[in-house]
Symmetry: C2
Subunit: 265 residues, 2 copies
Amino acid sequence: MGLTTRSLEVLGAFDPDHPVLTLAEVSRRTGVPLTTTHRIVTELLAWGALERRPDGALQIGLRLWQVASVAPRGPSLREVALPFLEDLYVATRENVQLAVRDGHEAVFLERLAGRGSVRVLTRVGDHFALHATGVGLVLLAFAPREVQEEVLAEPLRAWTAYTITDPAVLRRTLAEIRRTGVAISDRQVTEDAVSVASPVRGPDGDVVAALSVVVRHGGVAPASLVPAVLAGATGISRALGAPRPRPLSGARRDPDRPSAHRNGP
Amino acid sequence: MGLTTRSLEVLGAFDPDHPVLTLAEVSRRTGVPLTTTHRIVTELLAWGALERRPDGALQIGLRLWQVASVAPRGPSLREVALPFLEDLYVATRENVQLAVRDGHEAVFLERLAGRGSVRVLTRVGDHFALHATGVGLVLLAFAPREVQEEVLAEPLRAWTAYTITDPAVLRRTLAEIRRTGVAISDRQVTEDAVSVASPVRGPDGDVVAALSVVVRHGGVAPASLVPAVLAGATGISRALGAPRPRPLSGARRDPDRPSAHRNGP
């Protein structure tokens, strides 16, 4: 293993459940010998990728976060989407989530959640299976054919009695999502949450992310959220430079709206 | 220079103005020889710290952002603060900012901004001088003595005619901020923006961040924003486990409020 990779493994030892580690813990978690870990950590500290706490323990440094904050598929996409997420949050006061696909999983770029919002299992930066959440189902439905087949071939974990675990049912669900442009995950992750999600498209028209609103089951009807989620996803797509969606039959379009959206900060 | 540091320099070549680079550009910007750059980049790509675009150019990868997202002084602090930032945004519909100090500069952890908000120069992840912005003045006012003296000894850059460039005036301003717990930066960064900022304290009572609302000059009176900004900063401090602020003389305190705040997600 190259030293660059070992340095990355040292950084990778820190995760949401282990945000603070001692040198020995880093060595243990990475399998990198203590002396090598010490040499690497010394350089990581000097550069600011790691910071030492008053108690001597190590944590991820601000400088690494600054470098990472220019990741186009992460913060940059989030930056463009944020005004639309805020509009959705102000309109619903519910969890508003933005996610992208990373291999066979969804990664959450952002979540706006009020103190009154229903509890969700996901955190910003977390991975989550594609077949359960609303955003995951959208990302899977529009993923390359081979990715879909690989996921359909894997065992489909159940979080609740409502999680789709039958590949045939999942296949039909994905086709329906491609047809409607909307995914509704009803209590498939937690017993009390329903997610309504829609695809976000990039400049070449490909689906680059998914937007969702998660509400409490038995509260507001999910169907009533579909127009808001669709509008938000379309707005983000337009701000990303996506080609115009085909107008629905009979729908009238205000020629000013797209540019008005593009004028976002 | 160690290979770990060189690997970090390669990552550091990417910034908000250069989010996408070719291998040659990375080598040029870092001064790391092309062959070494190629070896490092190959490992960074394999691990996911970098991603290759369809056109072959390089960009920061999602995995680096995920690792960085556990930085306690960055995303984790932001996560605790977000509900309070949202409350302030909903109440004001103006720029709401959260920043921490990094040496002699402020780093912006978060900015919520509506499409109608006044334009600001700062971006999430950006550095900015401490003596001009509201959050910067707060962070400087509560920084260690030696940091204050170092900044006061440096030339103080002017962004507008209102930027404080006289060390004596800045010294008095910082003392006033420590006395009131509020900083108001009136057109000191841009001609049309006014920032109202207040300190956020950590578990040991030290100032760990600053919260601000930035409004258009000539619009809502800055003084009218002070209670909301103070309340938001106090709420975040409490959620971080800061000791209770001394109640203002005559102020009545509802014993439920702190715990209600701590119950935030």
